[in-house]
């Protein structure tokens, strides 16, 4: 049984999207239980090509879990994910068969992910990190993969670190390499899981700058973040999550500057007080 995906009025395409465009991401009624803890209680999201969407909310509200359900690093308890036409339903009870696993890999090819902890491969150089998957997943030859990787290293401003090992890079540089690694697979959507939360405050800016330039380039991005200013500047739409539900969805000027929902207001006021704004 499939649930019909409904686009809510708050999810009307942002200003970058051509009228009549088809969504690239449709997540429908995603639920997730951890033992008896109901983390996600039916979250749906629609993202159109070229949109930058941020997910805000308190720690523990389920933001990261939702993001990880989108590429099935976390198996949802219920729901359907459709990314670029690859549709995968939650299958919490049985292990997936070969075909099912292949479909998830197919879906992941359309959705690159950037992690809070970077997760660069420490035994590979920067360029090695970037070409590993294009060569061993897509079967590209080394020269083409390297060429493509170098373009992305230039994009994140780290071409001079090409042959360096990750351990010799700063946190901000590592995260930029991780972004370039995701880009080199040429996904349709980029998923960011709190990309700046593990960074020294002085290094946050360089990563956000790269993400901003990607947003301007028209990349489709879904970003879980605590960077309120970034969300306000770069996002086309903001999803505010509270206790496993999207409590408020809308353009940042509405959700952040003029929240309608009581929970959003409480969160923002506490957040703004905390950050001395």
């Amino acid at each position: 049984m499939t649930v019909q995906h409904v686009i809510s009025p708050a999810e009307v395409p942002g200003h970058l999207v051509k009228p009549g465009a088809e969504p690239i991401v449709k997540a429908t009624a995603i639920e997730k239980h951890f033992d008896d803890h109901h983390v996600l209680r039916g979250c749906s999201m629609t993202v159109f090509p070229g949109e930058t969407v941020t997910i805000l909310g308190r720690s523990g509200s389920g933001k990261s879990t939702f993001l990880r359900c989108l590429n099935f690093l976390e198996e949802p308890t219920a729901g359907v994910v459709d990314i670029a036409g690859v549709v995968v339903e939650a299958q919490p009870l049985r292990r997936r068969d070969r075909a099912g696993q292949a479909r998830i890999r197919q879906l992941r090819l359309h959705a690159g992910m950037v992690f809070q902890e970077f997760n660069l491969f420490p035994h590979l150089s920067v360029i090695g990190n970037l070409v590993e998957a294009p060569i061993h997943v897509k079967g590209m030859n080394k020269r083409d993969a390297t060429e493509r990787a170098e373009i992305n290293l230039v994009k994140v401003g780290l071409i001079e670190k090409r042959d360096e090992y990750p351990s010799r890079l700063s946190g901000g540089q590592r995260q930029r390499v991780a972004i370039a690694r995701a880009l080199t697979m040429e996904p349709d959507v980029l998923l960011f899981d709190e990309p700046t939360s593990a960074l020294d405050p002085s290094l946050v800016g360089e990563v956000l700058k790269v993400m901003e330039s990607l947003a301007h380039e028209g990349r489709t991005m879904i970003i879980v973040t605590h960077e309120m200013a970034f969300a306000r500047e770069a996002a086309d739409r903001v999803y505010f999550m509270d206790e496993g539900l999207f409590a408020e969805i809308g353009p940042p000027e509405q959700v952040i500057s003029n929240p309608q929902d009581e929970r959003t207001r409480t969160f923002l006021s506490r957040f703004l007080q905390g950050s001395s704004a």
């Binding site: 890999r105 992941r108 997760n119 660069l120 997943v137 090992y165 010799r168």
Partner: protein, 274 residues
């Protein structure tokens, strides 16, 4: 620290450095003297208690030394097979498949739970009753491989588990199959983690290969016993054997130390000079 240090301060720094140097030199001297005293005492004890027969030793030392290649052959061959067994065992122990996991955990439990000496004797003396007859050298290799393989299985398993889960997630989020993830991402990192332990096991294997003497493999200990027993001169021959093992383990420990250093720098620094 302030940039402008006055001269008295500089003198102080130099004095501290000199004092530290003096202290560490005196420590090293005491350390070396301790070794020297022990060695001299041992040599004196031997000279006093036994009549060192240089003709006897001249005759038999080459015979004992000829055991070195045998010992090394046993150790190298067995560590090779033990590594293969351990790799398979670790995959089994980490497998979701209950049969494979069951086989692997039984293997580890049984071969870690029984003495190596018993295993050697069992293969040599008991298996012939079941119609399986192995010569002495294969017996020793099989027993050492199985026994060390069981220990190393757990080492390999923990090495694989020590690779952070985020590595697997990153690889899978890039679309890698679990097989590719293991082969390209997890295994190379686990390999670095377990290398020191495998080196340790190799050094231990050199010594444990002496157990093969009980089934007549003509390695170092067997030769020492054979040479010393008829004329009750085991003190000399066993000391020679002990000395040989000692030197071998020192050599391989040094070698291992260097290897470890190389492995450690592999992922931390650039290999080419800056």
């Amino acid at each position: 620290m302030s940039l402008a240090m006055d001269t008295s301060n500089e003198n102080l720094v130099a004095d501290i450095a000199r004092a530290q140097e003096r202290r560490s030199r005196s420590w090293r001297t005491k350390f070396l003297v301790t070794w020297a005293v022990i060695v001299v005492a041992l040599v004196a004890f031997i000279l006093v208690t036994v009549n060192v027969d240089s003709v006897f030793l001249q005759k038999w030392i080459p015979f004992i030394l000829a055991g070195i290649p045998v010992t090394l052959f046993l150790a190298v061959t067995s560590i090779f097979f033990a590594t293969i067994l351990a790799a398979l065992g670790a995959l089994g122990r980490l497998s979701r498949n209950p049969y494979l996991n069951g086989i692997a955990s039984f293997y580890v439990s049984f071969f870690r739970g029984t003495p190596l000496l018993l295993q050697i004797l069992f293969i040599f003396l008991a298996l012939p009753q079941a119609g399986i007859v192995l010569p002495a050298v294969p017996t020793a290799i099989v027993a050492l491989s199985l026994n060390y393989g069981s220990y190393m299985t757990e080492v390999f398993r923990s090495g694989i588990e020590a690779v952070p889960h985020g590595q697997t997630e990153a690889a899978e989020s890039l679309g890698m199959t679990s097989r590719t993830t293991f082969r390209r991402i997890v295994a190379p990192q686990a390999f670095r983690i377990v290398t020191p332990a495998v080196g340790n096991d190799f050094v231990a294997m050199i010594k444990d290969s002496s157990l093969a003497s009980v089934v007549g493999v003509q390695e170092i200990l067997w030769r020492a016993q054979t040479a010393g027993r008829p004329t009750f001169q085991s003190m000399q021959t066993l000391l020679v054997a002990a000395f040989i093992y000692w030197v071998l383990t020192i050599i391989f420990s040094l070698f291992q130390g260097r290897l470890e250093k190389r492995m450690a720098t592999g992922d931390r620094t650039q290999r080419r000079a800056q």
